[in-house]
């Protein structure tokens, strides 16, 4: 009688791939935590706004709706370019994917720079962090998003460098794309809650 698991028997070894790569799972967990943080900010903003008699408070500058709407479109374009780059990469078209990724990086950089210019203009117009909850919430929520966008831009720069040398792994690209989608998808919600 032959023992089960005998070394004489040929054993079929099938290497199991994780359903979701570890890097993607880590970004998913991080995005979930950050999502709840922004949800808390938005909730506090909603209650603070409801408690105010007038919004924006008297003497405070009105937020730039049109220019920020244009900037929102630019960021959404960056997300579309990132999606396009991912699909091209999956199809094996690395050169075209690289160009699309560069486009996404350029649009994302424009968004952050434009936001910085708007911030400087609002500061000059007297929108301060401490004067009213209006300014405090604005700088907290938009600033937190800008920080995430800067981190995302760093990740995109890293991905561009790796893709240019053909050393970018699929999992890393997936994880980076997922984070950038989070940054892009979050902004229209923040624009709706903070600006409108």
């Amino acid at each position: 009688m032959m023992a089960v698991g005998s070394p004489d028997l040929p054993v079929a070894r099938e290497e199991r791939q994780p359903a979701v790569p570890n890097a993607v799972l880590a970004v998913l967990l991080f995005v979930g935590a950050e999502l709840m943080m922004f949800a808390a900010f938005i909730s506090a903003h909603a209650i603070g706004r409801a408690n105010m008699v007038e919004w924006p408070p008297p003497g405070q500058p009105v937020l730039p709706l049109e220019s920020t709407a244009f900037n929102t479109l630019v960021l959404l374009g960056s997300g579309v370019a990132m999606r396009y780059a991912g699909r091209l990469y999956d199809d094996g078209k690395v050169d075209t994917s690289f160009k699309a990724l560069l486009g996404s990086l350029a649009a994302g950089t424009f968004f952050v720079v434009f936001q910085g210019v708007e911030w400087a203009r609002l500061l000059a117009d007297g929108l301060s962090f401490r004067a009213t909850p209006y300014g405090g919430f604005f700088y907290l929520i938009v600033g937190a998003h800008a920080l995430h966008a800067l981190v995302g831009l760093g990740a995109v720069v890293w991905m561009v460098a790796r893709l240019g040398r053909n050393t970018l792994r699929r999992e890393a690209f997936q994880a980076g794309r997922l984070y950038w989608y989070f940054v892009v998808a979050l902004w229209p919600v923040l624009y709706w809650r903070v600006y409108l």
């Binding site: 359903a19 979930g32 209650i47 409801a50 408690n51 094996g92 050393t167 792994r169």
Partner: protein
């Protein structure tokens, strides 16, 4: 004798009906958002498992060296490296530390 009903945050809901509505709305929002997110992640993982299973399924029940494998390897060599496409785009285990 019976105490009045108090909200969890007496400051948030005491000022105006609008504030009370916002407080209730954000409570619902903050309660449902994590559940929605977890549900979406579960659906995503499920779809990934199903897609992996559908890719692996044709390889089973095939004789070793059968038509499928020969066709697949020929297709791989013709459509992958020979056309200048990235070899790592089809493989998972490409070394990362090389760059």
């Amino acid at each position: 004798m019976i105490p009045a009903i108090e909200l969890a945050c007496s400051v948030c809901g005491a000022v105006s009906p609008a504030a009370r509505t916002a407080y209730a709305g954000t409570t619902v929002f903050l309660s449902l958002l994590p559940l929605t997110f977890i549900g979406l992640v579960v659906l995503y993982v499920r779809s990934e498992i199903l897609s992996q299973a559908s890719v692996k399924q044709p390889l089973r029940n095939q004789p070793i060296g059968g038509e499928y494998e020969r066709g697949a390897s020929a297709q791989h060599s013709a459509g992958g490296h020979a056309t200048g496409q990235a070899p790592f785009a089809e493989e998972q285990g490409t070394p990362e530390g090389s760059g």
